[in-house]
């Protein structure tokens, strides 16, 4: 019996099917969103007022549930007053894809409104720098420590129980403390990202190190490798592709701490844009900003995956996952 090529367990797809699935992964949710936004019959539970008529409490642009709107219209007709007019609309928190796309474009083309206020791309660049330094500092400490913990049981016992304890402490809770020590600008923000990333990083990398094929170690020892060389010549090169993949995942981890980190101290970066727009219910702008972060994150990851394939061509898992 011939099985469908789409549903074979642990088998790679054909290249064309891979591309098709990848495109659909984005097109399907977008199509669903468009359908809900542009076909009034599907949802549109509210009415956006275009003309308040004789109803004193309505303003142009206000949102009213459909039932309440219908009652008002019926009342007005009954009493021979001017009836309010409106169009079907989704709730204010669900803008249409078109509105979000417009907001996306506008965000980059509109001059900052305050004098010497940052452009959106400058805010975004600031956020990227925060992430970069947070991730760099965490990696400079975490990667060596992780490898050591993985390689030497004594190091592992010495560090891991404490790290296991510490990684459960929520990073944002250190906000006020970080401000007290590091000031109000970028220091505390970077620190929050370091705290959020570092502890997981050590444990994950230690684990990766432990998974190194013992046959490699035995072969090296048989060939007369000395202890220190074993670490630098066998262990580290051996785990490098997996380490690289861990680092990619951890970079995503660092991004998730960005919004809380940037609320600490002076408000800055993309977070300023998101929180301010959300406060005044400009949700199209909020979604646009969230999409920017998504695009940046996914873009970096794809780039790193491609780089990984040329750096470690022998690693089959990397080729398969990318």
């Amino acid at each position: 019996m011939r099985r469908s090529p789409w549903l074979r367990i642990l088998r790679p797809l054909t290249p064309r099917a891979r591309i098709a699935c990848g495109v659909l992964a984005f097109v399907l949710p977008l199509a669903l969103w468009s359908l809900v936004s542009y076909v009034p019959a599907i949802w549109h539970p509210q009415v956006r007022i275009t003309d308040p008529g004789s109803v004193s409490y309505l303003d142009t642009g206000a949102y009213l549930p459909r039932a309440a709107f219908d009652t008002e219209v019926a009342d007005a007709r009954h009493e021979q007053r001017a009836a309010p007019k409106g169009v079907s609309a989704n709730p204010i928190y669900l803008p249409s894809p078109g509105q979000v796309l417009q907001a996306f474009y506008r965000a980059f083309t509109t001059r900052p409104e305050t004098k010497d206020g940052p452009w959106l791309y400058q805010s975004l660049w600031h956020s990227i720098q925060i992430i970069f330094w947070g991730y760099m500092i965490s990696s400079l400490l975490g990667v060596p420590l992780g490898i050591l913990c993985g390689a030497y049981a004594a190091m592992a016992r010495l560090n891991e129980p404490f790290l296991e304890f510490f990684r459960y402490l929520p990073a944002p809770a250190f906000g006020a403390l970080a401000v007290a020590i590091l000031g109000i600008y970028d220091g505390p923000k970077i620190a929050i990202i370091v705290i959020g990333t570092f502890f997981q990083q050590v444990l994950i990398i230690a684990n990766t190190t432990r998974k190194l094929d013992p046959a490699l170690l035995e072969a090296a020892l048989t060939l007369g490798t000395r202890s220190r060389q074993l670490l630098t010549r066998v262990v580290i090169p051996g785990i490098l592709p997996d380490l690289y993949r861990d680092q990619r995942i951890l970079l995503g981890w660092a991004w998730t701490y960005l919004i809380v980190a940037e609320l600490i101290g002076t408000t800055s970066g993309i977070t300023w844009f998101i929180t301010q727009q959300a406060r005044y219910q400009h949700f199209a702008n909020v979604y646009a900003a969230i999409a920017m972060i998504g695009i940046l994150g996914l873009g970096t990851d794809l780039l790193l995956a491609r780089l990984g394939r040329s750096l470690f061509p022998w690693d089959r898992a990397l080729v398969k996952s990318a």
């Binding site: 409490y57 309505l58 206000a62 949102y63 009213l64 309440a68 409104e113 305050t114 004098k115 206020g117 600031h126 720098q129 330094w133 500092i137 400079l140 400490l141 060596p144 420590l145 050591l148 906000g175 006020a176 401000v179 007290a180 020590i181 590091l182 000031g183 109000i184 600008y185 970028d186 220091g187 970077i190 620190a191 370091v194 220190r228 670490l231 630098t232 609320l263 600490i264 101290g265 002076t266 408000t267 300023w272 929180t275 301010q276 727009q277 406060r279 005044y280 219910q281 400009h282």
Partner: protein, 349 residues
Amino acid sequence: MSFAEIECYRNLKSYYRIAGEGSFMVRATLSGVLLLLALISPCAPAASAPLRLGYSDWPGWIAWQVAIDKGWLAQAGLDVKFEWFDYSASMDAFSAGKIDGDCVTNGDALVLGAGGTRNIMIMLTDYSNGNDMIVARPGIKTLNDLKGRKIGIEIGLVEHLLLLDGLKRVGLSPNDVTLVNSKTNETPQILASGQVDAIGAWQPNSGLAMKAVPGARPVYTSAQAPGLIYDVLIVSPATLAQHRAEFSKLIQVWEHVVNYINDPKTRDDAVQIMAARVGLAPAQYQSLLAGTHLINIAEAKKVFGRGPGLKSLYGSSQNADDFNVHNAVYKQPQKIDSYIDPALTAAQP
């Protein structure tokens, strides 16, 4: 933007090079420790730093933006830098001593002080004149109608104070209503959910609540209790001692700001600047500004006079202190006199 830590690390790297060819382990640990040090040690010297003041999203404080954008601070010979915060983050930074002054309500100044952050209110910026509201769902027209109903409010904050004040005026006791502890910025959704009959919030949340529930109307606002909540600039006693002359000039800059905003000829320009700061259309911003009464020097002199009622900062702060103690925001009643320094305002021409 500055990355002092990184600069610092660069200097330390030369030391690391001298340390020479260590084993991998030693080198890794060394660089780790150095980076940690670089991150923690305040490398940049704090020589002749400007005075740094915190401000946040409240119309009375956004007014400072006019002075900032127009360059009036520099014109007055002031080296003052305003830092934009979320309100509670600004108080954290002030508590940690990372900013020299902060814009807060008089009630919160007491809360900070009771928590160990000594501070002095040296100037008044405004009082809320309608921006703080108790908003009731359609069908409820007066505060009296709230008897026996549920009200969503952030317990211990200013709207709670406003509600108690209102209830007292209409002859109701606090026990006549049921309070549902709610985050102020979630109150619009809470009112819309229909699970409460009213909410207490300040702008823009109170306005958004009315937008979310058409027909909802305020039944009590701070316009009916002017002076219940004063907004002030607080500084630490040490900062005040070192910079009295600068703060005196700052009060004059504020006078300029208030005049510029209140003058019909320049009001539009001022509103434009302030609306831009928070990303609103000027027309939308007008209504927020209307609910805030900015205080000029002449009026501040009166408010800084002693008195038992809400017309005086002393009376208002005493009222807030009683409220805070009663609601266990803190335990020990505060000495109001030690929180207020009227001298800078009194000395203005």
